[in-house]
Subunit: 147 residues, 2 copies
DNA sequence: CTTTCTGCAAACCCTTTGCAGAGAA
DNA sequence: TTCTCTGCAAAGGGTTTGCAGAAAG
């Protein structure tokens, strides 16, 4: 995981260099907060985290910084059900999501059998697959336990 | 298909009856347009269709009527990628979607192997599945052909 | 110095709702 | 007559952007 973050930081540095983007105090704060927090965070939440360290950082800057990370393919923008977008660390391996409708917990899973079957189905229909969204909604083990 | 629509109309009539909802010219226009059009339509598009027959019908009425059909489980509200919601005829059998990123075409597919594997994966992780969203994005046969 | 960034506030886009008059039953 | 429905316009909720001053290089 630390490995993943190191890789992400490198990739981001390269991207910024190549695009003539500048390093700023705000960007550092935002990127650090995002990496520390880890995953599936909204802009509102991230802004709150960043403002704990510097209350002067504005929402628009957080918004634009996450767009930047997305362009750099260091972050990935997800839109679950309704409402706000959520950002997660762009992963090297593909994964899908399990979302608990009771507590909001979001887990990731990966299953090669599913992926393969999906590819097969698409091919048989004559389509060409670019990417997909596979989200499973239900109850996590803790919420099942809790009733 | 005509069979499906007849069934939907019956179900809707029953629901409206049971809820003391009234029949109005606007609702008839909207429901007819929705049934004729078929599937994956946005409120904007549906409003435009309805207004070709009666320009006085407002967007809010279309909005509320589709909410009504959704409550009656005659229509189903989908939110693909970004932007607006889309409505489709509520199907008796479950299906998932194929979305063409070039022309916007939306097709449906159903694969029992996928469904079964999905259930298995969820169960093994200790979760309880309620419903899911499985959307495949890519190119449809025509757009592959067209290059 | 020059060019990019930032924070603010306003603009947008779509969805949702309050209200007063219109229309079913 | 009564109670629901409609159209309008405004309010919400999240995302995006114009602008003038701040800061990086």
């Amino acid at each position: 995981m630390s490995e993943q973050i190191r890789h992400a930081r490198e990739r981001l540095a390269k991207y910024m260099e190549s695009q003539g983007k500048r390093n700023t105090r705000q960007r550092d704060l935002i990127v650090d907060a995002f990496f520390v927090q880890g995953g599936h965070i909204t802009l509102q939440e991230l802004t709150r985290l960043v403002q704990e360290r510097d209350s002067g950082v504005g929402f628009a800057t957080v918004y634009r910084t996450m767009k930047l990370l997305t362009e750099a393919e260091v972050a990935h923008e997800q839109r679950f059900g309704e409402g706000q977008a959520r950002y997660e660390l762009a992963d090297l391996e593909h994964h899908d999501h399990l979302i608990c409708e009771s507590c909001g917990r979001i887990d990731e899973f990966e299953d090669q059998v599913l992926e393969d079957r999906q590819s097969l189905v698409v091919r048989q229909l004559g389509w060409q697959l670019k990417h997909h969204r596979h989200e499973l909604y239900g109850l996590c083990p803790e919420c099942i336990e809790a009733g």
